[in-house]
Symmetry: C2
Subunit: 549 residues, 2 copies
């Protein structure tokens, strides 16, 4: 049996483009002699569809798309994913389903049993878990078809009380197929390989796994679909961050063969290489899928905006990136020069709008209220907010989308101005710690100097008052990021973090800063997610709560 | 058996204050001869604790608080709610539990079975549902203790496939007790009474129901705890939006008697009266629980900011409200006068900061870029954003929290400026449609004219260009709100809404405006929730998705 795996970039709610893409790949697979072509979980509507799923019209359109797709399935079978109404009057309205379509009709329906509802996942919000499991017979082979999380209930750390394959294996299947929507995080590819390999070994079956690729607002899907033999050997791996259609033959002895050269990488990409590729895809799809072309950002001469500018130029083309220098009276000469050098290196567009007179107009308008009170955070924020207003005015006038340039360390400790540098349509590096931003700059400069060396080596500064340095108010970034990692990703208490060897006063200060910044993060743009715990939908903290640390 | 019901205002994560409050009420109930005092669901940690629940330290602190509370339970028993570790190694880490504490020790643990995971609820994110149900014997009575949603699985529309009381009833209980965390919406009190009454009738048992009161950021809990006899007659109702401790005797013939006058209202409050009280509590608790006292807002002379200002003055005291007039060249004389009249009527503080020179400084700084392009939304937004920067500067200088004054109709169609009038720490009327804002103004003026009549009767205008009226770009508010209601609350498609009799072009325009504003709403402050479907956590729409309507 010849099986085609289609790893594609869908668009949530775009039935026309998703359906066309699926049909086009069915046709191509048929031309290439495939018996079966496998698409990803919920491919018909895109993932995550969120509360679109609560609209009856949306479910009807999924059904209609499936019917259109079914008419293409002659002399080839296909597996697609879509939400379907739950036939049981008890329980939630929907199932997360896979259709096995053959001879123009739906031959079998498989419903997902294990519904992830942690981190960014909300599947139990919409779907009723399945409790019945049947294999599908096709061309003399018996297929155990499951959906994503259904294979993820590990023996060591079982998140659910059932395991669908434990039922399916009793029906003596010949092969496992798993369709997935497994979002990217820099550590996720290895975890995915490990867990799927365990399944192949445990059930002694070859395994075909098909994932999404492409970004849906903040969620990036990295592809990397996988093929294992029945001993758990990884036979092939589809490309990361790219669409692909590949073919495999499932032989009668349960072995899997294929004609193309296996694309398994000898060494996996480093975290930073993955983050780099992921962010490029994230920017590209955010603009493409929202119908915009042109990005704008404020360029300070610092490393964060430099990295975002370089990523945007790579993703959208330098001709579609407008970098705006917004010097104030505190901007240093080297900052302006560094920013100009970057613009030159990238070949992107640039403008300069000085903000000194703007902040003066605010200070003058507010002088009856502020009287002779000393310069403080109010005046610092005036600069940051004046810049944001300039950038947003340019967005409104010319149709740009503003890129947010805050990094994860800043976002964590609230080292940023709400309605100032925290503005933007999408946050590009809001899930990248400052120490990783430096690595990313080096990665971007791998082949030639794009980001000026001075931008990378100078001490970070917000330049909102004379001679300000980030380290005036924050610990060194390697210490800060290590503490943040323990608190945010590992959810350790202050006592536990102190026990790891960090200075008590520093730990308490950092955790306090994180806690009192929840209200700021609530109002920030969506953040491209590259880590297992990003700010946004995946981390839901109270705002008006009493924090412990 | 004498039962005390404690309907209290907790604070998420504030173990010290929650524990003290619980202990103080145990003591008071004991002094008044109660055998048992019942507190609300998850009262120990507050509700909703969100991802606090993912911190081990948080769960440990819950356990320690319960131990402290237990030491008070001699000669009186109590029921408290808290998260506890799931003893089963399979499934999620926690249970949503109720402790029955007697003689200083936990005599019984009940775990919640039906975990709401719709709208604002995320309980399946944290908790494993219970599948085992046992009654609790106490002083010759058998108690069927359940937690909130456990009684909410209706016969007509069953959201879950089990019903805990169907198991518990077989053990022949004498009484039902349900502890809850059931947030306010203007239609929710009637629904609650109906569903609980059905339970009393179906199981032929008296029912004691204890709810939270108080607000946790955007969620308001209205109290209104309930007592039914075994025929479903509502015997008593605790006050709405207030703390209370009341006593009942469960007699041997299963009847319930009590000494105080029943506080059931002859007629329930109107929606607007409830919204009014709910918003007052929401503002109060937002400030009190976050440790702030002083609110600031921009006063335009229009009805939205007038209503918010009046509510804030009522909630915080007029001396804690700073109203700032921010006239531009497009502000009409009557607007300034209306704003001044309101300030006078309320007795709140006020300042005037003219923004004309500020917007001119932006226009001048941007003139090399904008050249002679015509005045458009860029310049309109400059005004709104300049006002926000002034207000935020005053927040930074003086420690105010900015109140957002957008209404739900505006928020829905994106008739507001991101980083402009959409700023604020909390949105007061973001869940109140414009037509309801008018009703709210009348309600506020019930006893005397607080909001100037002219503010209520003049045609709404954003005053961002000469002679602008809201109806220049939007349909009349009664039409707009009716369409929004069908789309947002009833999730109807454009075709369905048109079929209800609305003009096709208008429906398409409104729905399109809602859809293209998702990115704006993503970055708005938390919105005090008063309806069954508010923007925020309860409505999770894709941003970069293709919308249907």
């Amino acid at each position: 049996m010849k099986i085609a795996l289609a790893q594609l970039n869908y668009h949530v709610g775009n039935f026309e483009s998703n359906t066309n893409k699926i049909i086009q790949h069915i046709r191509e697979a048929k031309q290439n002699g495939a018996d079966l072509v496998v698409f990803a979980e919920l491919c018909v509507c895109g993932y995550p569809a969120r509360d679109f799923l609560e609209f009856n019209e949306f479910i009807t359109l999924c059904d209609e798309a499936a019917k259109t797709i079914a008419t293409e399935c002659h002399d080839i079978a296909c597996i697609i994913g879509l939400p379907t109404p739950n036939n049981n009057p008890e329980g939630k309205d929907l199932n997360n389903s896979a259709y096995f379509i053959e001879n123009g009709t739906v031959k079998a329906v498989v419903n997902k049993a294990l519904l992830p509802n942690y981190d960014i996942f909300d599947e139990y919000r919409y779907f009723e878990p399945s409790t019945q499991f049947s294999c599908i017979d096709f061309k003399g082979k018996r297929i155990a078809l499951t959906i994503c999380e259904d294979l993820w209930n590990t023996i060591e750390n079982p998140l659910y009380i059932t395991r669908p394959m434990d039922t399916l294996i009793k029906q003596k299947p010949d092969v496992m197929i798993n369709i997935a929507a497994s979002p990217f995080a820099y550590n996720h590819d290895e975890e995915r390989i490990e867990i799927l390999k365990d399944n192949a070994i445990r059930y002694n079956l070859p395994l075909f796994y098909v994932n999404h690729v492409g970004a849906q607002t903040e969620l990036i899907f990295d592809g990397g679909s996988l093929i294992f033999d029945n001993t758990g050997v990884l036979l092939d791996e589809l490309p990361y961050f790219k669409e692909a259609l590949t073919y495999y033959t499932l032989n009668d002895d349960a072995s899997v063969s294929f004609e193309h050269a296996s694309t398994i990488k000898a060494a996996h990409q480093s975290d930073i290489e993955q983050i780099h590729e992921g962010l490029i895809l994230g920017i590209k799809d955010y603009f493409y899928k929202s119908g915009f072309k042109q990005a704008i950002l404020g360029l300070s001469g610092g490393i964060d905006s430099a990295v975002v500018c370089a990523l945007a130029a790579e993703a959208l083309g330098p001709e579609n990136v407008m970098a705006v220098l917004l010097p104030s009276r505190f901007s240093s000469d080297h900052s302006i020069k560094d920013a100009e050098d970057l613009v030159k290196n990238l070949g992107c567009k640039s403008e300069t709008v000085a903000i000194a007179k703007i902040t003066e107009s605010f200070e003058s308008a507010l002088s009856p209220q502020f009287k002779n009170l000393p310069f403080n955070i109010a005046e610092e924020n005036l600069q940051s907010r004046s810049r944001a207003v300039v950038l947003m005015a340019m967005c409104n006038k010319f149709g740009y989308i503003l890129l947010n340039t805050s990094n994860k360390s800043e976002a964590a400790v609230g080292y940023g101005t709400l309605y100032g540098d925290m503005c933007g349509g999408i946050s590009v590096i809001g899930d990248v710690f400052k120490t990783q931003v430096f690595e990313l700059a080096r990665e971007i400069n791998k082949d030639r100097e794009i980001i000026p060396e001075n931008t990378i080596v100078k001490p970070p500064s917000a330049e909102l008052r004379p001679d300000q340095k980030d380290t005036d108010s924050l610990p060194e970034y390697d210490i800060l990021d290590a503490i943040l990692y323990e608190y945010i990703l590992n959810r350790r208490s202050s006592a536990e973090i102190i026990k790891l060897g960090f200075e008590e006063a520093v730990v308490r200060k950092v955790l306090r800063l994180v806690n009192i910044s929840e209200h700021k993060r609530y109002q920030t743009p969506p953040i491209l997610r590259v880590s297992p715990k990003a700010f946004g939908m995946g981390r839901r903290m109270p705002i008006v709560g009493k924090y412990l640390s």
